[in-house]
């Protein structure tokens, strides 16, 4: 009982405190890949601290939606941190929701962020909101089909069940249907977390941005919460990729040693994925907004292929 509670605390703390480091790591790696020294991986913590100490500037046109949104964002991500199997296959709230709940929790965050984008009444906010919901909507079918491909093998759609099934049969992770689903999910992860080639997290050039346009009106602690939530979303998505598709080393029972081992394995997998993400982002250019649907349609085709291969090869 105490160990289970400890596991929940470890997951929360890992996501809450690890997320900025992951962002920092990707930034540092990207800088090194293009031959710059770049900031230290710990820089995002300093940014967040600075933002927390500043005053909030709130537009007079906004309503309570604008003030509530950063809290909703942080809350949905922290609750998701208790559902995703990070250091243990059956986390504290694993029973309360499966991957579909998780995707819809992320959609709650998108919904409120888009509303907040419209709330200030500037053209940028609306533009960002409209683009963000378009990308989120087009990513949804791929996610569910990729997960369906996994669920078919595992006989359950509860995340813990999927992790344990693939853990029990490690070579399953390299089956073609599985790898296709992984590729599809990876592309969707790029779209959902606002990475290249869908959105450029480093830009503040108005015409190209999606996520940054929506949060343009935010400042101070509110902005800190939003940046933090965005980092947690990336952390959770990458952990899902790591632990759902390659659940090697995720402990299935909880003791203090397995928790520590689980955390170390997760750290190693995330570092590898961060490297992959940095290489990807260095190698590709941002797509024009209206070419993004083609990319997402491609990922959908991959997911559909993955599902069909499972129908035919059972």
């Amino acid at each position: 009982m105490i160990v289970d509670f400890l596991a929940a605390v470890v997951q929360l703390v890992l996501v809450a405190l690890g997320a900025p480091l992951l962002i920092g790591l990707v930034r540092t790696l990207k800088a090194r890949l293009v031959g710059r020294r770049g900031p230290s991986p710990w820089q995002p913590y300093a940014d967040l601290r600075k933002l927390l100490g500043k005053e909030r500037v709130v537009s007079t046109t906004t309503s309570w939606i604008f003030s509530v949104t950063p809290i909703v964002l942080a809350a949905t991500m922290l609750v998701s941190a208790l559902i995703v199997p990070l250091v243990i296959s059956r986390p504290a709230l694993g029973f309360a929701g499966n991957v579909i709940v998780l995707m819809y929790l992320f959609l709650v965050a998108t919904f409120f962020l888009a509303l907040a984008g419209l709330d200030a009444g500037s053209a940028f906010g609306g533009m960002g909101a409209s683009r963000e919901v378009a990308v989120a909507a087009l990513a949804e079918p791929t996610i569910v089909l990729a997960v369906f491909a996994l669920a078919m093998r595992a006989g359950t759609i509860n995340l813990g069940g999927v992790v344990e099934r693939v853990s029990a049969d490690p070579w399953l992770a390299l089956a073609p249907g599985h790898l296709l689903a992984f590729a599809a999910f990876f592309i969707v992860m790029l779209a959902e977390t606002g990475r290249l080639p869908v959105d450029n997290p480093a830009t503040h050039l108005e015409l190209t941005m999606i996520h940054e346009a929506m949060v343009l009106e935010y400042s101070g602690p509110d902005l800190a919460l939003i940046e933090w939530a965005a980092a947690m979303k990336l952390f959770l998505f990458m952990s899902l990729l790591a632990n759902l598709f390659f659940p090697w080393g995720v402990p299935t029972h909880t003791t203090i040693t397995t928790l520590a081992a689980g955390a170390i394995v997760l750290g190693a997998k995330l570092a590898a994925l961060a490297g992959l993400l940095a290489v990807m982002e260095t190698a590709v250019a941002k797509l024009r907004l209206f070419r993004v649907p083609e990319l997402l349609a491609g990922s959908f085709a991959l997911a559909l292929l993955s599902v069909t291969s499972m129908f035919l090869l059972r």
Partner: protein, 635 residues
Amino acid sequence: MSAITYVLAAIVGLAAGVTGVMGMLGVGLTCRLPALLPLGGVTLVLDPLAGVFLAMIGVAAVPASLYALGDTRHTRRGRTAYLLFVGAMAVVPVAGNALTFLLAWELMSLASYVLVVHDRESREAVRAAWVYAVMTHAGVACLMVGLLLLGTWAGSFEMTAWRAAAPSLLPWPRNLVWTLLALGFAVKAGVIPLHVWLPLAHPAAPSHVSALMSGVMIKLGVYGLIRVSLDWLGEGPPWWGTAILLAGAVSALVGVLSAIVDRDLKRVLAFSSIENMGIILIGLGAGVLYQAAGLPALAVLGLTAALYHAVNHTAFKTLLFLGAGAVVHATGTRDMESFGGLIKRMPWTAACFLSGAVAAAALPPLNGFVSEWLTFQALLQNLLIERPAVNLVFALGIAALALTGGLAVACFVRAFGISFLAVPRSDAAARAHETEAPPRLAMAVLAVACLALGLGATAVVPMLAGVGADVVGVVGALALGDALVLDVSGNFASLSMPVIAIALALVGVGVVGGLAVTGRGRVRSYETWGCGRMLQTSRMEYTATAFANPFKRVFGFFYRPVPQIDIAAHPASRLFVQRIEYANPTRSLFDDWLYRPLLTGVNRGVRVVRVVQSGSANLYLAYILVALLVLLVLA
């Protein structure tokens, strides 16, 4: 005077709701009045399935009548029709024989026709009512032929006798009857491509009537589809389920895509109803397919998901239509481009509309999410049917449902964000005021219902599963987890909405507390950043049309927009632009490719027939004589 009628309607609704819940819990009632009418008289039968739909009438009719009490300006006309409408809808699900059913069905359609045309001065309303009348009567014709054929072949017009007689029918009569009845019910349910009346009629009717039409009347089409696919005709071939599932997938997608681009708030809601009917039919189609494949437990799951989404849709769509009604009442227009900033002028309506929007976008923790989740779980288990072609149908259904979910979020961000947030876009919106107390109470009740239906899923779902088991004919209750966790199909998937809601609330409080400790809490009010311009006006806001533009481009093959730009320049130089007009209307696939060719064909046929229509009464009498003689000879 008008108050009495609406109080009466609320009482009828309440009685229907109470009876419905009793029926769901297993109270069976039969009432026969053979002397009342020829051809078998009136029979009323209350069974669990009828109970669900009666309960829906209660959920919608009580708040809608309450709303009508407060909004007297729009509700003085059409009181009797409204009362008849509520009464007829309450009779449809409990009708026990063909005649009672057809009479109640027709009365419901006629009463709603009168309500749609209530604004006789409006050309738009008259046209909407005309289209509605034509479509609904085409549907009634299908139903009448189907029910009479079924009654004749089964040897009885009592519905209870049909199920017993169905297995003895040959496949072709069963398929014929199913097709006719399914078409008739699909018209009422607004299934694509038979939906054309719905986006016209719902906005034209007064808001409390739109709420009932969307909340209950179109559900009765689903009621009929459930009866004909799982009850009256017994177990059907797999193509019935496939047809329902694909029709549902198409309706869901087309509905939400049409909703995203429309500027008329009430029409957005009407299209969203088509979308939700699609989601319900996806669940139902899955249930029928599982039943045909000999998997009754999953058939019950699919049917339960469909029923649950139907109940939830009743709650949140009634709420949204009442909210839209309040907005239309306050601003005098239905055009979203003229709203804006209403959250400050109508805080109650805005909060209620937002909860309806969250539910309609299927977001946790409200009810729309839980039933969509359940539909997903029903679809995801299709691997138990070992036929790749059927599996592929399911996979497409899953993808369509997921895309619909994402697009619904976009649709309701736009509907709420453009209408209620930012700066008023017109003087009418700037002068808007909150509605009276009864409409506010009606909306608040429905918002609470949306929350309760979501958090109380562990109580509602087993009850609906009992109804589903009764329809499918499974004995024994399905295991669906305990009071806290909904557990589907023995650990296939689990969900606990209360736990997630409490966790969200606790973590949210924690974040606020954390901010209070670390942040310094200084706040400065300032104007929105406008790229350095000095003046921030409503002209600079993002519009509803602009918001929909990415979708118009991505789904261009569906919308087929026709951009038109018209620039009037000063005579001295084309560089001095005096006026720019830009429009980018979409074109309806169904009007262009289905209805226009059909109507052209009908017109051509009518011109041929016109030869016999001379206008002479003598000639008509001769026709009657000839017809009589021919019939006598034939007999």
